[in-house]
């Protein structure tokens, strides 16, 4: 006990009476110690309170989750013969009694309605949409969309998108070319779903990049939405924004839009090698024999990956016009080029494999190994 008392007295004296008499380095060290001790204690207190508050929030979430889930579960098992208005009239007063100003309840209610709306279409989806509006949640979404904070805007856009509140498309279009990439993507995704007349209008005005990641998201939305009227994407293949061209090329490929053939062939001379490569890939996939000559003409000026793609496309087209060219490529110094040329020869459905077997008899040992590789169907190219 004496030792502890002595220690406490020493510390107290050090930080009071003696502090000013220490040299500057000792003084600094003492202040750093004091700062670290206080900071550590504060962090401990913060972590403890945070855990307690999390536990409290979880309790509230669990409680409201149970209420809301029960209510929505009853809603989905409602008799199908009942009219939509009757179902709404049954549930609305009950929901209205909830303390909707409670943040936790609000969060749970919106999240659950959104989840159910995503899972159910038809009458249940309609009931949920009506309830969403009657409870004033659509106004809250609109308010969020016009918030200053980009995270809140995204939240509102997602809600509007999920609940298919089409009148909000006009509010959302302004964000489709926003500097903030996340906000931009969410707006574009929502606009496609919400705009009734011109869902691809944002492509006309897109000046900011549509990142590859966003292209993946938009591609999924466009290709999965059966209700969407798909335009000819060739109209955007002359866009000054390379990322718009890239996205549209992917869509041209997916929807097999043959009417875009001429524009795609023109893109073989594009300054961006990624666009050239994608165009070549589409030419192969659409088997546009008319573009073979253009591909051959650009072949020798291209980087390796575009060359490989050209060989691949020539193989897919297999018109026979460039058979000698493909044969000549198997004597290239580049193994990848050789392999791709061999695969291209093999792609000729009628004689491909036979040609390779003939070639096997006449070629080098290295090429023989490559031919064996290409002929082995267990190895995917």
């Amino acid at each position: 006990m004496n030792f502890l008392e002595g220690l406490i007295n020493y510390i107290a004296e050090t930080y009071t009476d003696r502090l000013n008499y220490f040299p500057s380095n000792v003084k600094t060290s003492l202040l750093i110690i004091l700062f670290c001790v206080i900071a550590t204690l504060e962090m401990y207190i913060y972590i403890t309170f945070r855990r307690l508050s999390q536990a409290n929030e979880k309790r509230q979430l669990d409680k409201w989750n149970e209420h809301v889930s029960n209510m929505l579960a009853n809603l989905i098992i409602f008799d199908e013969a009942d009219k939509t208005e009757d179902i709404v009239a049954h549930f609305y007063p009950k929901m209205k009694k909830w303390p909707l100003r409670n943040k936790v309840l609000n969060k749970v209610l919106i999240s659950e309605i959104l989840t159910y709306h995503k899972s159910f279409t038809g009458q249940i989806g309609e009931v949920l949409s009506i309830l969403y509006r009657k409870l004033g949640l659509d106004k809250k979404s609109k308010k969020k969309i016009n918030s200053r904070n980009w995270e809140v805007k995204i939240e509102g856009i997602r809600e509007a998108n999920e609940m298919r509140i089409s009148e909000m498309a006009a509010e959302i279009i302004k964000y489709t070319d926003d500097e903030n990439a996340l906000l931009r993507m969410e707006s574009q995704a929502a606009y496609i779903n919400l705009s009734e007349n011109n869902p691809f209008h944002f492509l006309d005005r897109a000046q900011e990049r549509i990142l590859d990641w966003h292209q993946v998201v938009l591609f999924e939305i466009i290709t999965k939405n059966k209700a969407l009227k798909i335009p000819s994407f060739s109209q955007w293949l002359r866009s000054p924004n390379d990322t718009v061209v890239m996205l549209c090329l992917k869509l041209v490929e997916h929807f097999m839009q043959f009417e875009a053939a001429e524009e795609v062939e023109r893109l073989l001379k594009h300054h961006n090698p990624r666009i050239v490569k994608k165009s070549v890939e589409i030419i192969g996939k659409l088997e546009l024999a008319s573009a073979e000559t253009s591909m051959f003409e650009i072949y020798f000026d291209q980087p390796e990956d575009v060359k490989l793609e050209i060989l691949n496309s020539l193989g897919k087209i297999s018109s026979g016009s460039y058979e000698n060219f493909l044969m000549s490529r198997i004597y290239s110094g580049n193994v990848k080029i050789k392999k791709e040329a061999l695969y291209a020869i093999k792609r000729d459905q009628h004689q491909g494999e036979e040609k390779l077997r003939e070639l096997y008899q006449q070629t080098t040992v290295e090429n023989q190994a490559l031919i064996n590789h290409v002929l082995d169907s267990r190895i995917k190219p």
Partner: protein
């Protein structure tokens, strides 16, 4: 003599004080940078739905490369776990690096392998590949097994690169527990960065005492053994604080060997993994970065704070010592090999900041610490120590260290909060108090030993055997690591 010793003591006190201030200042700067980066990442990714990339045909194709050496106990389970990851477009390439046990036979039998006529394009050097195997069963079509002559981890990865067919390569330790969405998260930066991404890495976590079911982590627990527990704290500090900050600066020098996703073309252009170093993971990243600078190409090395990979940490001090010894030698080898980067403005952040930091704080810090301690003992024995000042200095370093570890725990709490049980949190906070006293001196000792081994030519990899998770359906990773 006394006058000299007194002058030396003053000099020594000041040197230690200012060095400590410098080190602490740099840690505070890194913590602040890390907080900014982490906050940005968490905000940005709370709105991301990974579902799109999972099913999309536009997702970048990935080859998982996992070298296996004497892994017969767990190889079948490990492969099964890799084959069940959530991603649409990937292949798994297991490289049997001349195992002396039944690793290859186990794979051969369980996965119904058969040899294929694979013509290997040796784009980067590696030992002879004896054969490439595919499964006869369509359900394992993603799997390719490479059987090769033993050449070490780097050599095995190079062989895997030569056989892989996709544009991105995920190099992992085969015995790691990989989170199901790991590839999705690692691949995302390749689709969204302005500049070309050459590598991405994620947080590696400690799996000791965690519950594992069918090769998947189902319950996170704090290790029961004290040594892995210290490593939990150490990893949180290093990954969530250190590497996030370096990622912010685009100055990362290391992507953990346990899991890293690389741009294959760049890896091939730089010549693949270096066989001559035991720190192949760091060396590769440094070489890729310097290559990009030399080519005048803009690039990024991205770090993701998500816990993507769980590994078994050594619980045995001898094995832990060997691991740290190897890490030290790896760091020295990389730094010496690329010594021309030191304060070389041509290499930007890499030369002016990352390299000097690693030199002063990763390589030289334990040596300086050891020298400081030795001089302190000499001065104490000769009676030339100002005990009060020395005690205050030691206290400053100790409390700073505790505060820094507590900040790391706070980061963890505010981000992923993996340790949800209150008692686990308490254990972690207690570890923060004990670590500077019990664990840190050992890490210094191992680092010194690593330096001695490096400069006396003892450059072995060292045995690093893990207990692993058993073949039972549900198991708990024990804290016992066997030699």
């Amino acid at each position: 003599m006394d006058e000299f010793l007194a002058t030396f003591e003053t000099f020594f006190n000041n040197a230690v004080f200012y060095y400590a201030l410098f080190v602490m200042g740099s840690y505070v700067a890194l913590a602040l940078l890390s907080a900014v980066e982490m906050n940005g990442y968490m905000k940005k990714n709370s709105y991301v739905s990974y579902r799109e990339i999972l099913v999309s045909p536009l997702a970048p194709p990935v080859s998982i490369l996992a070298p296996a050496y004497n892994e017969e106990a767990t190889i079948v389970e490990n492969i099964r776990s890799l084959l069940s990851l959530h991603y649409g477009n990937y292949e798994v390439v297991i490289i049997n690096d001349g195992s002396k046990d039944n690793t290859f036979q186990k794979m051969f039998d369980f996965y119904h392998l058969e040899r294929v006529d694979f013509a290997v394009d040796y784009q980067i050097p590696c030992n002879e590949i004896r054969g490439v195997y595919k499964s006869k069963l369509p359900s394992f079509a993603k799997l390719t097994v490479v059987d090769k002559v033993n050449g070490g981890k780097s050599d095995a990865l190079n062989a895997g690169i030569n056989v892989s067919s996709k544009g991105l390569i995920l190099c992992i330790d085969v015995d790691c527990i990989v989170q199901e969405d790991a590839i999705l998260k690692l691949a995302k930066p390749y689709l969204e960065e302005k500049h070309m991404v050459i590598a991405t890495g994620g947080v590696v976590r400690i799996a000791n005492s965690c519950k594992v079911e069918d090769g998947k982590l189902v319950e996170v627990n704090m290790p029961r053994n004290i040594w892995p527990r210290f490593q939990v704290l150490e990893y949180i500090r290093a990954f969530l604080m250190g590497r996030m900050a370096w990622s912010r600066l685009n100055g990362l020098l290391i992507i953990s060997g346990a899991m890293g996703l690389f741009d294959k073309r760049t890896v091939i252009e730089v010549g693949g993994y270096d066989h001559s170093t035991v720190g192949e993971d760091m060396e590769l990243v440094v070489r890729m970065r310097r290559y990009m600078h030399e080519q005048d190409r803009r690039y990024a090395v991205v770090y993701i704070p998500d816990p993507l990979c769980w590994t078994e940490a050594p619980a045995d001090l001898q094995i832990l010592g060997r691991q740290r010894n190897r890490w030290t030698r790896g760091t020295i080898e990389t730094l010496l090999k690329h010594k021309d980067l030191f304060f070389n403005p041509r290499y930007g952040i890499l030369g002016m900041l990352s390299y000097p930091y690693w030199l002063f704080f990763e390589w030289l810090a334990p040596i300086i610490e050891f020298l400081g301690l030795s001089i302190f003992i000499i001065l104490a024995v000769t009676g030339h120590i100002n005990w009060e000042f020395s005690s205050i200095l030691i206290c400053m370093v100790y409390f700073f260290s505790v505060a820094l570890s507590t900040v790391a725990v706070l980061f963890e709490e505010m981000s992923y909060q993996q340790y949800t049980k209150g008692k686990d949190l308490v254990k972690l906070l207690i570890a923060a108090f004990l670590e500077p006293l019990l664990y840190h001196p050992l890490t210094v000792y191992w680092a010194i030993k690593g330096n001695i081994h490096k400069f006396t030519g003892k450059n072995t990899w060292g045995v690093m055997t893990r207990k692993g998770f058993s073949n039972t359906k549900t198991s708990e990773l024990t804290d016992q690591t066997t030699t």
